[in-house]
Amino acid sequence: MVRPLPPEIRRRIFETWLEGYNYRQISSQIGVSLGAITAIIEEERKKMSDIDELRELKLALKQANTTIPDALRGAGLIEKLNSLNIPPERLLSCITILDQYGERAVDALAHALRLQELETSLGKTYEQVVTELGEKARELQETTQRIGTLRKEEQSLTNSLRDLQRLKALWNKMSQHSLTISKLEEFMNRSLKLDELGFTPQAAEILASELAKRGLDPQKASTTLADIFLEYSSSYEAVAKLRGEKRRLEKEVEIGRDQLGGMVNQLEALKEQTSAHSHLVQKEEQLYGVKIKQLEDEYSLKRREIQALHGKSMKDLRQRYKEEKERLESEISKVEQTKREVQREVQNLEETRDVILKNLSEAEKILAEQEAKIKSRRPLATLATLASNPESAGEPEVALEPLLPLFAGLRNYVEANESRLRSPRTLRTHVDNLVDELSREVRVGTSHA
């Protein structure tokens, strides 16, 4: 008989099966036969009909990595959501709102609910409601501005009305006193003028009452007063001027006195000087008078002496001098004429000399030029050398050149005088050859190819 397994093993087998292990895994894990395990599970199934669902739930929780208490809490939450008519798929957005609003989330939710109610009651969407509200707010702002403007206008009109009432009262007052605007302006101007003059209304009243007491007409009194004041001021000015003039004159008199004192002193000094000078002049005049007298006496004495000595001989001398002078002048004239003739002769000779020198110079120049020309070309010299000393006639092209025109002339002569010559052809041939060879020698000399 098989001994029954202890309750602890049995419970362990059952719990392992509930964990999701199959019979074979439990057998290898706990070391119990497959038959024993099957018998235990069947036995438990008979006791609890839903142990298979329980095992499936356990597996699902295991796969979801959760526990049964958590699952129970989740079930409670779902039930709550259902009661609030919140679908579970919206739970995430609800959590986001909670994160965003924190403690105010409840208020926000309440507002949202009220908004929802508002949408339901108005039968309009949130956007429509917002748009309508925006328009209404604008209208309200405009109305407020209009009211502000109207209030300002009202204030202005109230002020104007107050001014008008004052004006009306003024007008009534003016009418009572039969005052026109021009009269009023006149009064005002006068009042201002009186202010400028320093008259207060009280002072004017006092003045008027004083004048009335004395029975004086104010117009006449003012004219008289003005005249008195004018006269007083002009008299005052005249007195001031006279005083100034008096002071100026006093100063001038003072200065004049000083100057006069100085002049009197100078005059005294001049008088003294004049008296001294006149004394000296008198002395000098006396001395000059004596000297002049002496000189006049000497002059008359000398004059008488000269007249006595030369009275006659001076006349003879003058005559002789005149004759001698005439003779000398005649001789000088002759000499000058001779001198002019000689000068003319000399000039002629000089001119002749110049001509001769010019001629000689020109001739000399021409001869020198010709000499140079002859020397430079040397035809004649060369010919002369060839005749006298042919060995020293120089290079062939120089020595032979003068012969060339001679032999060319000879050729022409032979040609022109053939009939007069004994053997003109032979001579011509020789001369031609000679001219050819001479020409060649002169042209290129020894360098001829």
Partner: protein, 160 residues
């Protein structure tokens, strides 16, 4: 001697000097003209001597080419590389089509190649120039050098 006589004698002397000046000037002028004339004729003669030799060669070449229409005879001149600067003249036959091209190529080597008609035509001009005195600077230079320079100048002119 009287100054008047002296003056007359000096005037006479001046006249004699002037007469002598005229005579000498005339003599030298005549002398120079005569010398120049003979030298010019001598130069022409020398050039003619060279030309005669060239024309002989031309005639020989022309007789050789009598039936050959594609070729023609040209004259040439070039300076030898020897120190004496000897000028060599002659005639040669050239391909009619390429003759001017060759002449230009040879010109760069200082060789003057001219067609016969151009050569003879310019000879007449050269003779006239010599006899008129235009080329008196050449009178005392070598005639073959003058002919060579003339051929070169003619070639240059013909290209322009």
């Amino acid at each position: 001697m009287e100054p008047v006589m002296l003056k007359e004698r000096s005037a006479k002397l001046l006249n004699e000097a002037k007469t002598m000046q005229e005579a000498i000037s005339r003599f030298l002028e005549t002398y120079e003209l005569k010398v120049a004339k003979e030298l010019r004729m001598s130069l022409v003669k020398d050039i003619d001597g060279i030309v005669t030799d060239i024309m002989r060669q031309v005639r020989e070449k022309q007789s050789e080419l009598n039936t050959h229409k594609g070729r023609e005879v040209w004259t040439y001149a070039y300076s030898s590389q020897t120190e004496d600067g000897h000028i060599i003249f002659g005639a040669t036959d050239m391909n009619r089509a390429s003759s001017w091209y060759i002449a230009e190529a040879m010109e760069k080597k200082h060789q003057a190649y001219l067609p016969v008609d151009l050569f003879t035509e310019n000879l007449d001009r050269l003779r006239s120039s010599i006899l008129s005195g235009e080329l008196d600077t050449w009178l005392k230079r070598r005639p073959n050098r003058l002919l060579y320079e003339t051929m070169k100048a003619t070639l240059k002119e013909s290209k322009q």
